[in-house]
Subunit: 323 residues, 2 copies
């Protein structure tokens, strides 16, 4: 439980801004929230932490931070084929800053309302800015899409476009600013970094069509490799088929390809689908792209435009504890 | 999701050390954990964060810290009458320190095994030491014990003894060291501060007998006042009936009383029971003490040994954002 003024802080900024769901018996304000999990459903839960200076810049717009903190968790639910239901917020703050809290809670609310997810509890503590959100989703029992179900012959799909957030991050971190990109491009790429779109609309098609899925937070190669490892399979990727935004298409092909393969933070989904279901999937879903196929042979082969093959050096994406 | 080496960190130290439950379809290692909530049960969830320098000292034994981080959350489940089921761990660490991780995970495991609760997911990030744990418990639908159910005439009970953790904290913070306490006393009080006993064994009696309950994290007066406010009632406490440990009984009466009323961190339970059920409750439960009764009149009256009455100045306990 939390002391009265902390509780008031949560109540003041957060309690009324998210969806109100009928399956919440008791929300914020007791030792626990009480939630109703319907018969025949399994509960899907995921927790993610964002730390200032590690996952976001100290000068980030609090609205964007609030949005993204929830969006990255919603993305985990989407990747399992689960529908968003409830979330909790553990917020560690260096100070009680009303302007910051208003922006943050407003961004959080924007993401929450779009997904019909309700804030049901939390804890506010004083300390270095750290945000932990746990999401709870519901999925028909036995129907969740895991990482370990990919089969040889499956087509590999990704949603949206890849590399945008990585380009925005490179711009910020390395003062990288190629002439081909104009202000509108940077605004679009920055938007992708700050306001990733959780692909919860794909959860239902995933449950129907996909054998395996993951969300792309650390980069396509790093995240696809989790599917390959868990499913004990390999993959061939057609790297000229990687979906790129109009801004990314302005970049040199090799650089765009590198960002699309290896940079993180796009929060698109990568999933595998049996070939016999591919046509029906593509009829039902727009904004997805087939980029390769699962192989019985382990390893990750990258196939270029002229058919040349290279074995991928699987990058691990951003790693908090490597050297 | 987390990068591979972070995930390995969680797997290496945490994945095999807690209970293995049959209601966990999928544990650590995918985008989400998948959990089975039985029909007829409600899900009780609570999240708590511990921040270095705020909730614990930088030099704390990591074993004690791991134990307490889970214990304070288990206490929230006990206060609702819910049985522990699953938990997640969001761990922010300044460095990958194997000795620290071994101690911390071992303490966590000790608390987890005692409560048959399974670690089902987590996130490890780099940053200032911060620990967020979310617990999930199960309770018969409609049977959870809330803060808002206290009725005039209810007897007020507390579990265990009060003020021990507060005395240990005062010793550490103020170099307070009265002659009447010897090394064994300090060891016992320190044990109470570092290894609070979550009262999960009381969850079932609470569901049967109690109208309202809360766990005492911020001090008896502060936490009881939450029950009074939510239930729209008042209380009379017999302050000479407050349960004290043998060490606390050595202190001057007024000081012991003050610590028992106002210091936090004991993680005992405070609950209210209809008078007609009091005898049966006391037959079934040892280590509980009746300390007063709920009144229709609002306010909190403290009654001394000779019957003198004072109105409590309700202390708020430790407040992260006051002044």
């Amino acid at each position: 439980m939390v002391a009265e003024s902390e509780f008031s802080l949560i109540e003041q900024y957060f309690s009324s801004l998210t969806a109100e769901r009928e399956d919440v018996t008791l929300g914020i304000g007791d030792d626990c929230a009480l939630l109703q999990c319907p018969q025949g459903k399994e509960l899907a839960v995921s927790i993610d932490t964002l730390v200032e200076g590690v996952h976001f810049f100290a000068d980030v717009d609090p609205h964007a931070l609030g949005f993204k903190a929830l969006a990255v968790n919603l993305s985990d639910l989407a990747a399992m084929g689960a529908a968003p239901a409830w979330f909790t917020l553990a917020l560690t703050l260096p100070e009680n800053n009303p302007a910051w809290l208003e922006g943050f809670s407003s961004g959080l609310a924007t993401a929450a309302k779009a997904s019909s997810i309700q804030l049901v509890g939390g804890d506010t503590t004083r300390g270095p800015l750290t945000i932990s959100i746990q999401v709870h989703g519901l999925v028909d029992a036995g129907q969740a899409v895991r990482r370990d179900g990919a089969k040889p012959g499956d087509r590999i799909y990704v949603s949206g476009t890849l590399g945008d957030a990585g380009a925005a991050l490179k711009h910020r971190l390395e003062a990288w600013s190629p002439d081909v990109l104009n202000d509108a491009d940077w605004a679009a790429l920055q938007q992708r970094l700050e306001y990733p779109t959780p692909r919860n609309a794909l959860a239902e098609p995933l449950r129907h069509f996909a054998n395996a899925a993951i969300d792309i937070s650390d980069g396509l190669l790093a995240d696809l490799s989790h599917i390959l490892k868990r499913s004990d399979v390999g993959a061939r990727l057609q790297t000229h088929d990687l979906p790129l935004s109009s801004s990314m298409k302005k970049l040199p092909k090799e650089l765009a390809r590198e960002l699309a393969l290896s940079s993180g933070d796009d929060y698109e989904l990568c999933f595998t689908v049996p070939p016999k279901l591919a046509d029906e999937l593509e009829q039902q879903c727009s904004d997805i792209t087939c980029i390769g196929e699962i192989t019985a042979q382990s390893g990750l082969i990258l196939v270029g435009a002229s058919g040349q093959e290279t074995t991928a050096n699987i990058r691990k994406g951003y790693d908090h504890f490597s050297a």
